[in-house]
């Protein structure tokens, strides 16, 4: 039956005009992006200047006393809007804030430069915020100018260049092991006749320069976006048109209906990804064909999240808004964490599957990295898949009235199991909830309260959130020791995550051993709560657990 549903879905999608249109659109976008991408690279290599983000256009208004070679260079930057002003006017404008920097050059700047004489340059800044930006750009321009002049002088005066040799990191070991022989190399640099102006400026600084991988990822977002849209469309529109009810009466499990729909869309997405990657590989825009796998992983995650949204939403309006918001968050998270790959926090960045794409392209991905990269995305995908299957099996999600989100949590928890092992697992699970809520509360406090008050409230709310979530997690288990197991799960998983984070931040191993204590605290606080719940004195238990937990947190923070 599931195969039949997959077939129906595929047929429906391929016969719809919308899909064909979207597919063609994608194709053109990709075809368009390839030459654009080449232009990007060429611009980069030719040393022309980038317009950075459009908002940076003429971002920095500056003034200068005369037109000269330097002003020509400055004008090549889109960031500057340069006006030629005589000194008094310029200084007045600087004071009023119409310009943020004023450059004063010698009257015979160009002649001096051609004669390779020393040049005096005075730059006045006002104390606006933008002047700091101006300073950072002008510094690099002036340095580049200065370097260019020095090079020119070296050629002009026929000064032999010093010997500078580039070697690889691996050479260092080989070199230091054997005794060194100093080679006498003296080559005179041939005097070139190229005009000085041409090579005067050699500026390396390119802010916001997007690297290859990022553009590749941008291209890949298209099929992902589309697949999510197709899935919500297929499920929500059947809900709205009531044709989904026909599907429900089919002689098959409901699970199969939803899995069939999901798999059909997933299949299409995979085919698209493979197609685009092969095209990109064919024209030599990517170097590693295995980038397909992390992209498929990302697609699987996105599709499962959209599945959850479409099962949850009642109408198209709702699903459209939810999909937009969730996509923004997911992509911000994926891109945000994958930025870390380039910096030192490589392991942490692997939370996002997109980091693996960068890793594969750079060729720096190890097996351990792959495991770290695959696990979070895959587990999130399966959690949301399981949730959607569960929600779909409930009639109230199809025929209404939809139950409240908070009422669902205990219901879902009790589905997982009632035993001690289930409690342990639920404890692990509630760590995720705790992290999300705590981050939200933390950000709110950071913005709206001053540091001291905000910190105290944050501390109290952390304890409250954690204890409450653990309480929710122990609800299905009616035994005396339910709390101990939930606490154990919570502490265990928290340690696992913080160990993961601490490792990546180069903390010593002792720190991780030290984490035994919070595990015990979690176990005892929720153990007490569980015991009091068993004795039907939940409120008292909660207060005691709260106090124990708070006391521990306070002691730790004060001692730090």
């Amino acid at each position: 039956m599931m195969k039949k549903i997959i077939k129906w879905e595929l047929k429906r999608i391929f016969s719809s005009k919308k899909f064909t249109a979207a597919f063609i659109l994608q194709f053109f976008l990709i075809v368009l992006i390839i030459p654009m991408f080449t232009v990007y690279l060429e611009t980069l290599q030719s040393g022309k200047f980038f317009s950075t983000t459009p908002g940076m256009n003429e971002f920095i208004p500056i003034g200068m006393n005369r037109k000269c070679k330097l002003s020509e260079i400055i004008e090549e930057y889109d960031q500057f809007s340069l006006t030629i002003l005589e000194k008094n006017g310029g200084m007045k404008m600087l004071q009023k804030g119409n310009i943020v920097a004023y450059i004063l050059v010698d009257d015979d700047f160009d002649q001096k430069m051609l004669k390779l004489e020393n040049i005096t340059l005075l730059i006045y800044y006002n104390n606006s915020d933008k002047s700091y930006v101006a300073k950072s750009y002008l510094d690099s321009i002036v340095n580049g100018f200065s370097d260019g002049l020095r090079r020119a002088r070296m050629r002009e005066y026929d000064i032999p260049s010093i010997l500078i040799e580039k070697k690889d990191r691996t050479d260092f070991v080989a070199e230091t092991e054997k005794p060194k022989t100093v080679e006498e190399k003296k080559e005179t640099v041939p005097k070139e006749t190229t005009p000085i102006e041409k090579e005067m400026v050699d500026i390396k600084r390119l802010k916001f320069s997007l690297n290859r991988e990022y553009i590749l990822l941008l291209v890949m977002l298209l099929p992902l976006f589309m697949s999510g849209g197709l899935l919500t469309d297929s499920i929500v529109s059947e809900k709205e048109k009531k044709t989904g009810e026909m599907l429900l009466v089919l002689p098959t499990k409901r699970r199969n209906i939803i899995l069939g729909k999901m798999l059909a869309i997933f299949l299409i997405t995979v085919v698209q990804i493979i197609l685009w990657i092969f095209i990109l590989y064919g024209v030599g825009k990517i170097s590693n064909i295995y980038t397909i796998f992390p992209l498929i992983l990302a697609a699987f995650l996105v599709i499962n999240l959209s599945l959850l949204i479409s099962v949850y939403s009642q109408n198209y309006k709702e699903s459209a808004l939810l999909v937009t918001v969730i996509y923004i968050l997911v992509f911000a998270f994926m891109f945000g964490t994958s930025i870390l790959y380039i910096s030192e926090l490589k392991t942490l960045s692997l939370l996002s599957p997109l980091s693996m794409v960068i890793g594969l392209e750079e060729g720096s991905l190890t097996t351990l990295d792959t495991i770290y990269g695959v696990l979070p995305a895959l587990s999130f995908s399966f959690i949301s898949l399981a949730l959607s299957v569960y929600l779909f099996s409930k009639d109230s999600f199809y025929f209404g009235p939809r139950p409240k989100l908070l009422d669902l949590i205990p219901d879902i928890f009790s589905k997982i199991g009632k035993g001690n092992f289930a409690s342990f697992f639920l404890g692990c699970l509630s760590v995720f909830g705790a992290i999300i809520v705590e981050i939200a509360v933390g950000v709110l406090m950071y913005f709206f309260l001053n540091l001291d008050v905000g910190f105290v409230i944050f501390l109290l709310s952390i304890v409250f959130i954690e204890e409450y979530l653990k309480y929710l997690a122990m609800l299905p288990n009616k035994s005396k020791f339910s709390g101990v197991f939930v606490g154990f799960g919570f502490g265990f998983f928290e340690n696992l995550l913080s160990g993961f984070v601490l490792f990546t931040m180069f903390f010593p191993v002792e720190m991780i051993l030290f984490r035994i204590i919070p595990l015990l605290i979690h176990m005892s606080s929720s153990g007490i709560l569980g015991y009091f719940r068993y004795k039907k004195k939940t409120k008292l238990g909660f207060i005691i657990a709260f106090i124990i937990h708070l006391a521990y947190n306070t002691i730790i923070l004060v001692s730090i």
């Binding site: 256009n57 971002f59 260049s161 010093i162 500078i164 990191r169 709206f448």
Partner: protein, 331 residues
């Protein structure tokens, strides 16, 4: 007065929709997240700008230490991003990074010829007096990219609300009743637009307050509001046109999403500067917003007002004409 009644009803409709309230709350977190992105971007940029270089030449180490962007160490072993070895004035640079090699090459030349007259740095450098600690990267990314996003976010989301309201009425067939009321078509558009604009301004003010909590202040708020009003009229009229042309919410949503993707691509993605194209980009509304919020106002800003005022007039005129065509009502 009649418009007021319609506007009041629309406002009530929007505020009673749970999903909008939810979207509104999420926006709050997006705005706060955006400010945090600004902070973390500038933090990463600062780390990335600093390269660590080790060298066995103490004099050279001192020389390199003058550069703020290089962390320099004296060491006989490989350490950091690059290692510079000076063996009897032959320099060996160990690094895999081409750019860093080039930078170090100029540094070594500068160092090597530091006493020889003609090769001393040809331009006199004067130190910048730092009164307070301002990170240029933060200022740059915040005011040129993130503040415009924060300001345009409510505008973009309100476009969806507006089209939902119009297409919803079309689907429920209540739009025909509205047309039968003693309101002119133009008044209907105004009545639909007014509450969304009001909400848009409320959100913009709130987000400005939120970012000001982290010391991101903007200039010329009054001029900004006028400019945003013009932009809102323009974009909301476009939204009206799209919703009149589409037969159901889904279709309208697709048009709007495509439109917004196109707009955000033009407004926020870095594009190569290619003659004519970069001149067009200079008139992007984002550039206008950035200029208004960060510069001292002068006469040159008027061109943005004029361009978008004219476009808004044209858009609202088209919207009215589309509304007057009765075929766009029948699905």
């Amino acid at each position: 007065m009649k418009i007021m009644a319609l506007a009041y009803k629309e406002l009530k409709d929007i505020l009673s929709e749970k999903i909008y309230i939810f979207g509104f709350l999420l926006q709050l977190f997006i705005v706060m997240g955006i400010v945090l992105i600004g902070f973390s971007y500038s933090y990463i940029a600062q780390i990335e700008n600093k390269t660590s270089v080790a060298t066995n030449d103490t004099e050279f180490a001192k020389f390199l230490a003058q550069d703020e962007e290089i962390l320099c160490f004296y060491s006989k072993n490989f350490f950091g991003d690059a290692y510079v070895q000076n063996i009897e004035n032959v320099f060996y640079v160990y690094t895999e990074d081409e750019d860093l090699f080039d930078t170090l090459k100029t540094k070594i030349e500068e160092y090597y010829f530091r006493y020889e007259g003609p090769l001393r740095s040809p331009i006199l450098k004067v130190d910048f007096i730092k009164e307070r600690r301002v990170v240029p990267e933060f200022i740059e990314v915040m005011y040129s990219l993130l503040v415009p996003i924060v300001l345009l976010l409510p505008v973009f989301l309100s476009m969806n609300m507006l089209s939902d309201s119009i297409v919803g009425e079309k689907e429920r067939k209540t739009f025909e009743i509205l047309l039968a009321s003693p309101l002119t078509r133009f008044e209907i558009i105004l009545g639909k637009l007014a509450p969304v604009i009001l909400l848009g301004f409320f959100q913009v003010s709130l987000w400005l307050f939120v970012i000001s909590r982290k010391n991101v202040y903007i200039k010329n708020i009054f001029a900004l509001y006028i400019f945003l009003l013009i932009l809102m009229i323009l974009f909301f009229s476009v939204s009206v046109i799209f919703s009149m042309l589409s037969s159901n919410i889904r279709e309208a949503n697709i048009y709007l999403t495509l439109f917004m993707m196109f707009l955000s691509f033009l407004m926020f993605i870095p594009l190569p500067s290619l003659g004519f194209f970069s001149n067009v980009i200079k008139y992007s509304p984002v550039v206008g917003i950035v200029k208004i919020t960060t510069n001292v106002l002068d006469i040159s800003i008027l061109k943005y007002f004029i361009i978008y005022l004219v476009s808004a007039m044209i858009a609202i005129f088209i919207a009215k004409n589309v509304l007057e065509k009765d075929e766009s009502l029948r699905l």
